[in-house]
């Protein structure tokens, strides 16, 4: 297999992962206007939850039907969304709606600090492993290289998530109401939209996507403290490149970062660390609000 193809495959795999971890961030920003630093913690909680749940699954005779562990992974993300989402949104974030964006970044930074220790209190510092789902799909041989089937499952998951979010927003009534709230939450209220419920729903959806990112990653890593710190910075970069609040933007941002990173690792490993900021700086230089900033209706 030639180098270009390798770069594309590697780039796509990474982009799939990047998209899943960033799309929830952009959705939450779009609806709630909060750039959620704690998104990284939600990712980590998702990873811990899935490690725990899959562990329980195999401890209780899951070996007979190993495929069930995928259901356990997704269930973990759903549980995190159902439990942590409302606690954070109803219990804290709703008091800060309409406040300064940057102040809200600090609020979520505080949440991030708190959750880091809360995770430590719940799960301790020892690593958790759930490698079964990772090896279940076997190997895929592409030219001289082996890939793990699971990697392609992550790409598939990213496509499903992307299409799911896009179709929900653009093809369902509820999604269109959400679009209205994204564009103008104040005006939506005067039309009778239950904005608090939309906020809660969107935050839970964002939490689900963050947790899903963690849950899907858990089988290929060891789940340890400090997992969320790095995720948040790359997710930030992706959504800034794509345009805050834009789902297609997150997809394009993830692809750009994923492929340029893969190219860098293969061709110029020294530059890997910068590539993400480089792409971001170039995009912002020409499009100060990212590639797909929120569309504005004409004023005249």
């Amino acid at each position: 297999m030639d180098l270009v193809a390798t770069i594309l495959v590697d780039g796509l795999i990474y982009a799939g992962w990047l998209f899943i971890v960033s799309v929830g961030l952009t959705l939450v920003f779009g609806v709630l206007n909060i750039l959620n630093i704690a998104h990284g913690s939600l990712y980590a909680i998702g990873a811990y939850a899935s490690a725990t749940l899959v562990g329980i699954y195999f401890a209780n005779g899951g070996d007979a039907i190993p495929w069930g562990s995928y259901a356990a992974l997704i269930l973990a993300a759903v549980l995190v969304a159902l439990v942590v989402g409302p606690i954070l949104e109803r219990g804290l974030l709703r008091f800060f709606y309409g406040r300064d964006e940057v102040l809200n970044v600090l609020v979520t930074y505080a949440v991030f600090l708190i959750l880091e220790d809360v995770m430590k209190l719940i799960w301790g510092v020892n690593p958790y492993f759930v490698y079964e789902p990772y090896t279940l799909l076997g190997d895929v041989e592409i030219g001289p290289l082996f890939y793990v089937g699971y990697d392609f499952a992550v790409i598939a998951a990213a496509i499903i998530v992307g299409l799911g979010v896009w179709l929900t927003l653009n093809r369902t009534r509820m999604g269109k109401v959400v679009l209205a709230v994204i564009h103008d939450s104040e005006m939506s209220q005067t039309m009778g939209v239950n904005v608090p419920r939309i906020y809660l729903g969107a935050f839970m959806a964002g939490t689900f996507l963050a947790a899903l990112g963690g849950a899907l990653t858990a089988p290929m890593i060891s789940v340890t403290p400090g997992l969320g710190v790095n995720v948040i910075i790359v997710a930030f970069a992706v959504v800034i490149i794509g345009g805050l609040g834009s789902v297609p933007g997150a997809a394009i941002g993830a692809l750009m970062v994923g492929i340029s990173r893969a190219a860098s690792v293969h061709l110029l490993p020294e530059a890997e660390l910068f590539i993400i900021y480089f792409v971001m700086a170039v995009v912002l230089m020409f499009r100060p609000e990212g590639l797909f900033a929120k569309t504005q209706a004409r004023k005249i």
Binding site: N170, L179, A180, Q189, G192, V193, N194, A297, R298, K299
Partner: protein, 228 residues
């Protein structure tokens, strides 16, 4: 008496915007709210929709104090609001923009409302499937009016409906509002000049620097009524 504002005070960033505004509107009454830019017209509108926070005073609807009611619950009472800057959802089509209030309020019959609006403004039929992003400012104004009409079964709040609109279109909008006379809903129109709506209004309030300085029956300039 349908809508009543009593000594309404609104402060934005320590600056008093409304200072003891009081007036009443009857069901099916059409009233103008006239004042220069910055006099507080839009803030009065926002007070009625619930978007502005009261620093003092009360708002009543059908005799009930709704001062603490959320904008959403007020929308459910049948308030329709057309803001000066239209504020359509750019990614949605013309029809979707107008149907949005019906989607979230089970009391509204979307199909009937739509039929009513298309009947009033047939030109909207042609552009019903276009994204509102692609409309001209004047066209957006008509869509925003249509949306307010579908949402507003009891009270219509129109903020500068003629501002920045070509004369021909302004005339058309004026006609549309005039044709509402038979619908039996209260209409409050905020504007800086009365030229387009003289014939359709019954009364006007003049607002200056956040205070109502005069309430008069249109055409009877001399007979200023006491405010209360």
């Amino acid at each position: 008496m349908t809508l009543k504002l009593e000594n309404v005070e609104v402060t934005i960033q320590a600056a008093p915007i409304l200072r003891g505004v009081s007036f009443e509107m009857q069901a099916a009454e059409r009233m103008g709210l006239v004042g220069r830019n910055g006099a507080g017209k839009t803030t009065v509108m926002r007070t009625i929709t619930g978007l502005a926070t009261l620093a003092g005073g009360k708002v009543f609807w059908d005799g009930t104090d709704i001062s603490a009611m959320s904008p959403r619950d007020r929308a459910m009472l049948g308030f329709g609001y057309m803001p000066e800057d239209r504020r359509l959802v750019p990614d949605l089509t013309v029809e979707e923009n107008m149907l949005l209030p019906a989607w979230v309020n089970p009391d509204i019959d979307g199909a009937r409302g739509l039929a009513f609006v298309y009947d009033l403004m047939p030109e909207l039929t042609k552009m019903s499937a276009r994204k509102s992003l692609l409309l001209s400012g004047g066209q957006q104004k008509m869509v925003a009016l249509g949306r307010a009409l579908i949402a507003g079964r009891r009270l219509l709040l129109l903020d500068e409906p003629f501002e920045g609109v070509a004369p021909a279109l302004a005339k058309r909008i004026s006609e549309v509002i005039t044709s509402l006379r038979s619908e039996g809903l209260a209409v409050l129109i905020a504007q800086s000049e009365l030229s387009h709506s003289m014939e359709l209004l019954q009364r006007e309030c003049v607002i200056e620097r956040g205070e109502i300085v005069k309430v008069s029956t249109v055409g009877q300039d001399t007979a200023a009524q006491p405010v209360g």
